[in-house]
Amino acid sequence: MKKISVDHLARVEGNGGISATIDGKSVTDVKFSIYEGPRLIERLAVGRTPEEDVSITPRICAICTLSHKNAVLRAMENALDVNVPRKVYLLRELMHMGEMIESHSLHVYYLALPDYVGFPNAIAMASKFELEVKIALEMKHYGNHIMKVLSGRYIHGENPVIGGFGDYPSIEDLKFIKGRAIQFMPFVHKTVNLFCELDYPGSPEDDTLYACCEPGNNEYGFWGDEIILSTGKKFHRDDYKSLTNEFVVPHSYAKRSRYQGKPYSVGALARVNCLGDRLTDEAGKMYKKFFNNRWKTNPLFHNAAQALEILYCFERIPVLVDEILKISENPALVEYKVKNGNGTGLVEAPRGLLIHHYEIKDGLVDHSDIVTPTAQNAEDIERYCFIAAQKLLDEGKEEEIRDRMELVVRAFDPCISCSAHLAEIKHAPQDDWKTRLHQIHKSKNPIYIGIGNTDLGDDGTGIKLAAKLKNAGIPDVYLEKEIEENNKILEDNSGRPIIFLDALDHKENPGKITLLPLSLILNNTALSHRIIPLISEMMNYSQIHYGYILGIQPESIESGEEISPSVHMAIEDILKHLTN
């Protein structure tokens, strides 16, 4: 088995890696791991006053610090019934635009673009794209400047507090921000054209669900009190858990999210998919010009969507500043009493939906929950990497897998990553399934379920194997029909892994045994036929996460009860291995 892995994702916020394992002609594993240690921020927030948490929780991330600041402020103000004056609201929006511009321009030009124009990094790219590299840095600097003016410093500014700001920017500061926004416009247009017309590879391509904040009033925007899905469904902010359903996977300290058992995507592409038709003016025109069906299925268009959002921000800033300047008085901090209650704050960080939730009891935070965009995207990052890797493997282009996975991970602009620098392909050793099966057994004893049709030759492999295991006295082995009759078996397994035994067409030599995680099967419908309805109807997402298929390559699935000799040998091999 080969493993393609990017051990340290470079040019990133934090520490993570991506790896794909290849066994013959199948990708048997894709893992997006975060090595970043646990900081327990959600627990640090407990026992603190709301004011202290406004200062502490944004320190989760230096790049998205102001998104976290806006999220915690919105959550606390919802919990404490604080309504900020209009000027404060508008200044916070301006502050958020600064972060969007800073983050997006850094990502599209410095981290994403070098891949598409054939350079290893932005500095090397400068030989051909000198103007772009220089002005993009100016643009990033401009975003930083807005953040500094409004929050107090580049990173972890303390000026925004519950009920307003400690101090306000001067009229000159604001006019400067407006003037610069107008100056940048020609370059901003160039940016949109460049990234919307880039030649994005066709793979990976697959449908997904998109989620973002609903800004209300049929407007585009970066926060709201509801979540909207690309299906049109909406959730109130306090019901965010029906979307996120967080759970833990053993290879990462970042939690995962699935909606109704399926991965979903957040970020600029999600926003453009859900809200793009609300864009007006130049951004609206560009949306109409460039948006097409590929934006709905190909995650690489995150880059194009970010470029479109840069234009939206630069158009919005002069309007915002004019509105702010109309309100001459600087409002004092809104007075409030700390009371018991809950509050949720929804914000669109540059890389997607960010949720902060706090429960306040006796003046202190009693419970907190923070759901970050990268945690929500992790499942789709793995899924799209798998789709891309398997497709390239099918086309015989294994050498391209590493770069393509990096491209996919980077497109999502994950906080921990952006650019991967140490990709390697890991090939599975002979009989890799034995080692991995052993590892599964070591954590918890699995449940085996045999599936198949004994009237169709090798298709009966799973059933025959299960019967033999039963006879040999292996505990917890079931047949397909036993599960259909009594689905309690699947329900009461108390976190034990489930291993399906089946004939699995993975284009190998007959009799080849492979152990595949179930989550990968769901992304590769060509592999198995019978198992899909069974797992999608009867198993929840955590069971799928801890589920596997132990498959044998069939030789023939013509009618007849005979099993081919090669498959028969594989069955005996598994039986021998498990009874030892």
Binding site: H8, A10, R11, V12, E13, G14, N15, S33, Y35, E36, G37, P38, R39, L40, I41, E42, R43, L44, G47, R48, T49, E52, S55, I56, R59, I60, C61, A62, I63, T65, P120, N121, L137, K140, H141, N144, G152, R153, Y154, I155, H156, G157, E158, N159, V161, F165, G166, D167, V248, V249, P250, H251, S252, Y253, S419, H421, S443
Partner: protein, 260 residues
Amino acid sequence: MKKDKLKIGIYELTGCAGDALLILDCEKELIDIFNAVNIQSFLMANSANIDEELDVALVEGSVTTEREIEELKDIRKRAKVVVAIGLCATAGGIQARFTDKKEWEKNLREVYGDVEMTHTKAVQSKPIDAYIDVDFYLPGCPISKEQFLHLFNRIVKGAPPEHYPQPVCVTCKFNENDCLLNQGKLCLGPITADGCGSICPNYNLPCVGCWGPLEEANRRSEYYLLQEKGFDIEEIKKKMANYSGTKLADFFSQIKKEKR
């Protein structure tokens, strides 16, 4: 010429990466920084990183996994000088609040349940000097550009960096701010290391202590002074612990003894 340049590595352990980001945000000086020394390893900025002998290692972040302990010990072995940059590396950062092992374990379970991690085991968050000898400290959450450039200049010239033995109040007075403690606001300026430019008081906000504790400060006296001013004892303790958990643990046990 090139071979005479100092070999420098910049490393990120667990934290928000804000200190590495701040170095990148030194936009105008960045090219000079990269020209003045040989940057051998800087994951956030660079794709090809070399792990060999170093003159200076700048380490950001606190230690929270076994993998990081190994990484850190390896860095120490390779580097002649190790500088802790940022509050997480110097004092443990906000994540070092759970100073009691049992309390930390309980909270880890609350967040991650009983899932056994396969990639690396978590350990209680600690500053890097809990595991290796540290030559110099540059605190701040995040570090300030000015202090970083001062330190960097000195190191490049082979001189030890300057020590800042004063609290935030010194700069705050230079900035002619009205003392917030006199206004009845719980400000940690007097016990917090200087370097931020008294940014919070400049914005009429009390110092939260994000530079970590100042060694030379009379913490005991400040603690009792705040108490005299009528602030709630628990609140003072909590505020002081927010940004300097590990470093203040001894102080708290001393206070506890005095109370008995």
